[in-house]
Symmetry: C2
């Protein structure tokens, strides 16, 4: 599939929450996201990667206005989830490369990471799909990041 | 945005690799994915979540046929990445709910996780985008999972 990068998107109205040490048994992810859905909390990215010692960390992003409520809901659930802690940060921003045919182009992710690396920008979280590669980075770096990624993919910088 | 679930997809030709304890400084993700791209290794999902102790675990999925080569490449890179280990598993499968307007429906993820929880199926990894929610689960549970998720979203089971 020919790689077609349509543009670069970014979002600064974002906060990330991580529930640390969730028991790795069926039903825990459901308990967490049902509690958030029941309160109408919109969740953007959900990430659960490899865990350590039989537990998993479940991270997700919400808008800044939902951060406090989401954290309060989780604090009330920590015992039921067998989790040890909830961590959050709002000094972050999301930058995404949007296109088609990503899945068959191993080089796209590498190029995006290269653009950020050359600017000395640290990648805090990564989430990908067929049509999009998203990175969470420090909020103060978002302008530089957008310019660097536009340049790397030779996109018209006015996109 | 009205939630429109188009279907349930699954993939059993998948293996997951996790690079454990990557140094959390600019350039590391680029080094890893450039090495894979240079060898033409197609990567599907990339996940980097919250880390522990100043390092991050970077997970990604490849086809089963690329597993051995990808692991060999990473083993040669562990020092440069400041990483401690590379772990992999191929007894997994991916199940995805595909639709539109996911991002504005906090209940979709919760419903998918509920379908898996009710079947006692453990979720190993989670990755989401606006149009898709994907879970890695034990390979032997994939048939039950597809049926349960179809039923939960009241989709025609023949999709
Ligand atoms: C950690 C959490 O995802 C758990 N494995 C579950 O299935 O709910
Ligand atoms: C861990 C890795 O993502 C690192 N933070 C980087 O920017 O490359």
């Amino acid at each position: 599939e020919k790689m077609v990068i349509k543009g670069v998107a970014h979002d600064v109205d974002i906060a990330r929450i991580a529930v640390i040490g969730v028991a790795d048994k069926p039903g825990m992810a459901h308990k967490l996201f049902k509690a958030l859905a029941d309160q109408g909390i919109n969740v953007d990215i959900i990430l659960q990667s490899i865990g350590r010692g039989g537990t998993k960390d479940i991270s997700f992003t919400v808008s800044k206005s939902n951060l406090k409520q989401a954290v309060d809901i989780i604090k009330g659930l920590l015992d039921e989830l067998g989790a040890t802690d909830v961590k959050y940060a709002e000094d972050i921003a999301k930058i995404s490369v949007v296109g088609a045919g990503m899945a068959n182009n191993p080089g796209i992710a590498s190029l995006m990471f290269e653009a950020l690396a050359e600017e000395g920008i640290n990648i805090e979280m990564i989430s990908t799909s067929e049509i999009k590669i998203s990175c969470l980075i420090p909020k103060e770096d978002i302008e530089r990041a957008v310019k660097a990624v536009h340049k790397k993919f030779q996109l018209d910088s006015v996109a």
